[in-house]
């Protein structure tokens, strides 16, 4: 075998490689002149045999290069996303600051107790209801009760695990309200026919469609809880006052869940209530 190889090598290197030159030239010309199926066969055979290991090496190098490029790309993307996250955080903080500035009166820091409505009073007109949270859950008398839509009332009686809520439409409940647009403070109460009415100064310029919120002056309800919208403005018995019909935000007969704000009355109000 070695002799045969040596013979071929010697043959090719004879006469300054002219034999090799002629051999490879003929081989090359044969390849050039061969029909296309033969060329295809030559190429596919070469690719699947002698060039297969080389392809592995080259593809590995190419893969490494692709991984390096992808890594660079991912680093750039990561840096960009970090920057975007930073900007988003800044934006959120700014939004919170602006929100605090614009709607500062909506901010309440009191704990909230979620309660389910478990009973209504059996009377013809709904003025109170019962919830399934009591002193065991931190609920006390005179704590504000509200829903997703707005103010509901206040806790009138708290037992161990149940409480009674006095609704806005109860004539015995009176509270101080404020017009959100004009910031004028008025007085809200329920009439005998369970209509909510508010008394405000005549010069206030309040008109139908305005929103009323709690003013925070009564000592029981914090400032800014939505109460209702002004339906109609009428003349009052007193020239200096205007009487308004108010449509509450919350429809009380369909209440299923409410929130009790664990805010106890201000100390002066508490003293008055105790007396």
């Amino acid at each position: 075998m070695l002799r045969a190889i040596r013979f071929i090598v010697d043959l090719f290197t004879q006469r300054h490689g002219i034999v090799a030159f002629v051999f490879f030239l003929v081989l090359g010309l044969l390849m050039r002149q061969s029909p296309e199926p033969v060329r295809e066969s030559i190429v596919s055979t070469a690719l699947s045999t002698i060039y297969f290991p080389a392809q592995r090496v080259v593809s590995a190098v190419g893969h490494y290069q692709a991984v390096v490029e992808e890594n660079e790309h991912l680093k750039e993307e990561n840096a960009r996303l970090r920057q975007e996250t930073y900007h988003a955080r800044e934006g959120l903080q700014e939004l919170a600051r602006l929100h605090t500035l614009v709607r500062f009166d909506d901010k309440w820091d009191y704990p909230i107790v979620t309660a389910r409505v478990v009973g209504h009073n059996p009377g013809r007109f709904l003025t109170t209801m019962v919830i399934n949270r009591g002193t065991e859950h931190g609920v006390k008398e005179n704590m504000p009760v509200f829903s997703m839509n707005g103010l509901v009332g206040k806790v009138s009686k708290a037992t161990f695990n149940h409480s009674r809520v006095q609704l806005l439409v109860d004539p015995n409940l009176k509270l101080s309200v404020m017009d959100r647009r004009t910031r004028v403070v008025g007085f809200l109460e329920s009439m005998e026919d369970r209509r909510l009415t508010a008394l405000v100064p005549a010069h206030a310029g309040i008109h139908a469609g305005d929103t009323l919120v709690t003013s925070g002056l009564g000592g029981i309800f914090p400032k800014g809880i939505p109460v209702g919208t002004v339906k109609e403005v009428r003349m009052s018995d007193l020239d200096v006052m205007r009487q308004m019909d108010v449509e509450p935000f919350q429809e009380f007969s369909i209440l299923e869940e409410v929130f009790v704000m664990e805010k106890e009355p201000d100390w002066i109000v508490k003293e008055l209530l105790d007396e």
């Binding site: 300054h16 034999v19 030159f21 490879f24 030239l25």
Partner: protein, 163 residues
């Protein structure tokens, strides 16, 4: 020629092709890249003679043909084989090539190789002229620069080993 020497050339051949497929692309500008394969053929032919130049020229050309469109099969094989043979003949018969001569042979071989390739592939005269000016000439200069550095380093290495 010992088997070990052929193995070394084979490894060098793989490295050169890997370089051609990777580094040459990174080094290219305006789509002009150096041709490491031609430098390899010229270097092997100078070192090992015309027969080895023929073989490695044909093998290198065939490798390029395999990855080229099938209708051009044989074009690179013939042109590079001729290059390897011609450079080997020059080294063996006529002169011992110094650095400028090696670079000159590399440049001449580059042109001859491309011309044979264009002729074998049957391109028209206009296309060949255009390719010669936009491709062959600038790539030849770039390859001469890289080849010159390679030959210079190779000569320096030889001098050190002789000393």
């Amino acid at each position: 020629m010992s088997n070990l020497k052929w193995l070394k050339v084979l490894i060098l051949f793989v490295i050169v092709f890997s370089l051609q497929l990777t580094v040459a692309n990174w080094m290219s500008f305006f789509d002009i890249a150096p041709d490491f394969v031609i430098i390899f053929i010229v270097a092997v032919a100078i070192k090992m003679g015309p027969a080895a130049g023929c073989f490695w020229g044909f093998f290198a050309g065939f490798t390029q043909d395999v990855y080229a469109p099938v209708e051009w099969l044989g074009a690179n094989s013939i042109s590079m084989m001729v290059l390897g043979f011609a450079v080997g003949q020059l080294e063996e018969r006529f002169l011992t090539l110094n650095l400028p001569a090696k670079v000159g042979v590399l440049g001449l071989g580059f042109f001859v190789c491309d011309m044979i390739y264009y002729a074998v592939t049957g391109l028209s005269k206009d296309v060949i002229t255009n390719l010669f000016l936009t491709k062959t000439l600038p790539e030849c200069l770039y390859t001469l620069l890289i080849g010159g550095i390679f030959f210079y380093l190779d000569i320096g290495k030889k001098k050190k080993s002789h000393a």
